[in-house]
């Protein structure tokens, strides 16, 4: 077994030093009825080439997004990640390092986290950011809980433009009840959250671009929330948008949570991703997750440490701000490296390119009879309405090698209002040919149905 270093002779030597006759003696305190008396019913160890063959066979049963025209977004976006990023994150010192609890030998990770926190704060226009969360959806749930602690109020209102999965996670974390108001889906971008804020409201949650692609008026939302003494939580599932769309922090957001996957991290069937959280300096002690801070060492040399740890589970235990232990580590590193390679100039170009591709897509979709574009505004994602239920059409196109976007009914199977809707995204990887093929196939599918 290639990962186990001992020979039988070495095991025997070690047992002799311990004073045990057999390795089984070391399990003497385990009740005999708990010990297995025959091996578990699982395959035996395997050489690399057989393991590889098995895994390759599984992977070939999946259609990769890059295999054909691809238009699915809905909270996870297919972008180009420069080769440098994946190469760097496989360096031993990044890949196999532990959490930086011993800062003197973890300055690489800690300095990177400080840079990451700064990048996130600048992107979102907020004063301070943490060292990442599991993903955007759990970050949203944590933001909601944070808002409750800060305001000492309980009511939460979720915009109808919030990603249905994110809404579902908040519902699981908070439990259903009168204090959690989930507004109905708003595929046309209709905003109605401003009328639902009252003196009991801790926070409202608004996503922009929203799940259906619409750009939302954060300034109006912030003003309305603050007038009632509530907080505005802004959710961004496509961080590339921040290269072109106004920063939530500049529009009055109190807490910003994002899914950072678009930068540095592949689709990976949904994980691992990287949640971003940023807030006002005055709220930092109520922010969950790890935080990295600057300090000096005994010689006065600048260095970095995890700080404000007394918020966290290993110290406050029952009174912690959350039970979170890990952050997204390597995914945060990938985000930070990619963001460094982009820089401001690159991010702005990337964002403009994404929007330009989306405009092209929108115009082409407009030429397909029966297809209605619902968006007056978008960044790189939009919603179309078909004259027929969307799921079978998307399935038909998938069989033809075109991944045409997400039929909303997949996430909302019981809502007739969304049955005919598809959410589609375009990114810098979307070619003119892809868009033409999509239009042709959609057209053919809808003609066939007529």
């Amino acid at each position: 077994m290639r990962y186990l270093p001992h020979s039988e002779a070495e095991r025997a030597q070690m047992l002799a030093v311990i004073g045990a006759a057999t390795a089984e003696d070391l399990f003497a305190r385990v009740p005999t009825q708990a010990l297995l008396h025959e091996p578990v019913n699982l395959p035996k160890h395997s050489p690399e080439f057989l393991v590889e063959a098995h895994m390759r066979a599984l992977s070939r049963q999946n259609v990769a997004a890059g295999d054909g025209p691809f238009f699915i977004g809905a909270g996870a976006y297919r972008h180009h990640v420069p080769a440098t990023v994946d190469h760097l994150i496989q360096r031993s010192e990044w890949l196999t390092a532990y959490t930086p609890y011993q800062p003197e030998v973890s300055q690489g990770t800690l300095q990177m986290l400080f840079e990451f926190q700064t990048q996130v704060a600048h992107l979102t226009g907020m004063e301070v950011a943490n060292a990442s969360m599991y993903d955007g959806s759990t970050a949203t749930a944590e933001a909601v809980l944070m808002a409750r602690r800060l305001t000492r109020r309980n009511r939460i209102v979720l915009s109808g433009g919030l990603h249905p999965h994110y809404r579902d996670v908040v519902r699981t974390y908070l439990g259903d009840g009168p204090d959690l108001v989930c507004l109905p889906a708003s595929p046309e971008g209709q905003g109605d959250i401003l009328n639902r804020i009252d003196a009991e409201t801790a926070a409202i949650v608004v996503q922009t671009p929203d799940f259906y692609g619409h750009l939302r008026n954060l300034r109006a939302a912030a003003d309305a929330a603050h007038a009632a003494g509530a907080l505005l939580i802004v959710v961004v599932t496509e961080v590339v948008s921040l290269g072109l769309i106004e920063a939530p922090g500049a529009l009055g957001a109190d807490i910003v949570v994002c899914e950072g996957q678009s930068i540095g991290n592949p689709l990976n069937y949904g994980g691992p991703y990287v949640g971003l959280m940023a807030t006002r300096k005055e709220f930092v002690r109520q922010m969950p997750g790890r935080l990295c801070g600057e300090t000096v060492d005994a010689d006065g040399t600048r260095g970095f440490v995890l700080t404000l740890s007394t918020r966290e589970q290993h110290i406050r235990r029952e009174k912690a701000t959350s039970n979170i232990c890990t952050n997204a580590g390597l995914c945060a590193l990938a985000f930070s490296i990619h963001m460094s390679l982009l820089g401001e100039a690159g991010l702005k170009r990337l964002a403009r390119l994404n929007h330009e591709r989306a405009v092209k897509l929108a115009r082409m979709l407009g030429t397909v009879p029966g297809v209605e574009l619902l968006n007056k505004s978008f960044f790189n994602e939009m919603t179309i309405r078909l004259p027929v239920p969307a799921a079978p059409v998307v399935e038909m196109l998938a069989q033809a090698g075109v991944l045409a976007g997400l039929p909303v009914s997949r996430l909302e199977p019981h809502d007739p209002a969304v049955e005919n809707l598809i959410v589609l995204a375009a990114t810098e990887l979307t070619t003119d040919t892809d868009i033409e093929m999509l239009a042709d196939c959609l057209n053919a599918a809808l003609q066939g149905d007529a």
Binding site: P5, A34, L42, G108, G293, T307, T310, E395
Partner: protein, 510 residues
């Protein structure tokens, strides 16, 4: 903590630190000190857009993101990486963390386009391989634990704890037992346990450890009452010991109408040797990034699938794979989702690759070697160090306390920092809290006898030096690391959490 008594260091941190030192051990400037908003390491066409579809929401505020060209970026991150200790460069004797080898085949498989380049919401007909993989991983986890179901989606161990305890809460509610608002937690538990319980609205009732470091079933019985929903027990426990009365504890807990949550952080000691399901557990999270070799990545990503007993299986959160289908919407009593999308597929690929490589026989051998290695360390160190729970073999980790340092002027912290100067990452310090100045050592099965001997030689030398009165070596440590001891007080009193331009900083007080 003597270093923190030396008065307040000056200034708020020197900005504009130039790159000094050799390229092997650099002082690497911050990204913002070497990059700027003009430079970029990607080539992207510049396209014209108009504001037709932007609703007037174009960004007008500056972003202020530093960029680097590709060669500069590579240098920055390579040089930074050299400041990190890592498993690939040395042993981490970190109790409770299971810092085993991270196989590279895992990384190769995770990067196959059929795994890395699939979207979580693709039509299910296009991702049959992903569903099969999840099924296969689930099968391995359930077989190793002898449980009825598994929730794969939690993104970390703590997240898995939350899912498992939510399932317990739901099961109690469904049985009309929602008035049970107390959770029993041993004093020695990891902080996530009471944090998770409190998070879900429970109050925590603490169970003391007895003199041998384990939990007395009689103490549990005393604590059990009709308002107890569950016990959260770590087995093997945080002192590195198998709970000898775990089966009786499970029985007592069930008898009292409560559930048994097992913290599976220490599963590495018993996989393939003991099946937690046989002990009577109802839910147990497994840390794929500990037991199943997925890399620690400097703090994440993790993955914390939760195995469930038949009683809790109906409450598993969606989504899950059932008979080759992906169930995404709540049916029956299943809980709602705890994360967007489908979980940590990237980690499933790595973990399954590891499981297939080791096989059931290899996993059992790994557990036995992990236990062997910890006992070897304990045997070599126990005369010079103080063992709080002597007279019994430990499992995969050996626990020491700081009584052997009494009168030396050297604390556990100082001892750990001196270990850095000898080329080792310190062991886990001050955990578990039930022992004073705890040092928890977990070598894992990945360490050779040579490495273990070198580690023990160094530890014995340090212990002797401390007892000989050379406190200075310890209190001034580390001296051979990229940084001396860092001022954590200053970082907490005056937090500086983002970079500011030097001209934006307030004037230093001194």
């Amino acid at each position: 903590m003597s270093m923190n008594n030396q008065g307040r260091p000056t200034g708020t941190g020197s900005a504009g630190v130039a790159a000094t030192g050799s390229s092997l051990l650099p002082n690497e400037p911050l990204l913002f000190e070497i990059g700027d908003t003009e430079h970029s390491g990607v080539d992207l066409p510049d396209v014209e857009i108009d504001g037709t579809f932007l609703g007037g929401f174009e960004r007008r505020s500056e972003i202020d993101l530093a960029g680097l060209t590709e060669p500069e970026a590579l240098r920055h991150y390579v040089r930074l990486s050299r400041l990190n200790y890592s498993i690939d460069s040395g042993m981490y004797p970190l109790g409770s963390c299971t810092m085993k080898h991270n196989p590279r085949l895992n990384e190769k498989m995770a990067r196959l386009p059929g795994f890395a380049d699939i979207h979580p919401l693709q039509p299910v007909s296009t991702v049959k391989g992903a569903l099969r993989l999840m099924d296969e991983l689930a099968h391995w986890l359930m077989t190793l634990t002898n449980t009825a179901a598994v929730c794969l989606t939690p993104k970390a161990g703590a997240h898995g704890e939350m899912a498992g305890m939510m399932a317990i809460r739901a099961a109690q509610d469904a049985a009309g037992q929602g008035h049970r608002r107390v959770v029993l937690v041993p004093e020695s538990a990891h902080g996530t346990n009471p944090a998770t319980a409190a998070f879900l609205g429970y109050s925590v009732r603490s169970i003391p450890a007895r003199d041998d470091g384990t939990v007395d079933v009689e103490a549990v019985k005393v604590a059990l009452s009709p308002d107890v929903a569950a016990i959260m027990l770590t087995n093997p426990n945080t002192c590195g010991l198998f709970e000898p009365e775990v089966i009786e504890i499970a029985a007592a807990v069930h008898e009292a109408g409560a559930f048994f949550y097992c913290d599976g952080a220490n599963f590495n000691a018993i996989m393939g040797v003991v099946r937690p399901g046989d002990l009577g557990i109802d839910a147990m999270h497994i840390n794929l990034h500990k037991t199943f070799s997925t890399p620690h990545g400097g703090g994440g990503p993790g993955a914390g699938p939760v195995v469930l007993s038949a009683a809790l299986a109906p409450f598993a959160p969606v989504p899950f794979v059932r008979k080759g289908e992906l169930v995404e919407h709540i049916e029956g009593q299943h809980l709602g989702r705890i994360t967007a999308f489908n979980g940590q597929m990237g980690m499933y690929v790595r973990a399954l690759t590891y499981m297939l490589s080791h096989g059931g026989d290899g996993l059992a051998q790994a557990a036995k070697d992990a236990v062997l290695n910890a006992n070897y360390i304990k045997a070599r160190l126990e005369r010079a160090f103080s063992v709080p729970f002597p007279g019994q073999p430990c499992m995969h980790e050996a626990l020491f306390d700081d009584s052997f340092l009494a009168g030396t002027g050297v604390s556990t912290l100082d001892f750990a920092k001196a270990l850095i100067d000898e080329g080792f990452h310190p062991m886990t310090m001050y955990f578990p809290l039930v022992v004073h100045g705890a040092m928890l050592v977990e070598p894992t099965e990945s360490e050779s006898k040579q490495t273990l001997d070198r580690f023990c030689d160094v530890m014995l030398d340090l212990a002797a030096d401390a007892k000989a009165g050379n406190a200075g070596r310890f209190t001034s440590a580390p001296t051979r690391a990229p940084r001396r001891r860092l001022d954590e007080t200053r970082a907490a009193r005056s937090p500086v959490l983002t970079w500011s331009r030097p001209e934006e900083l307030p004037q230093a007080a001194e």
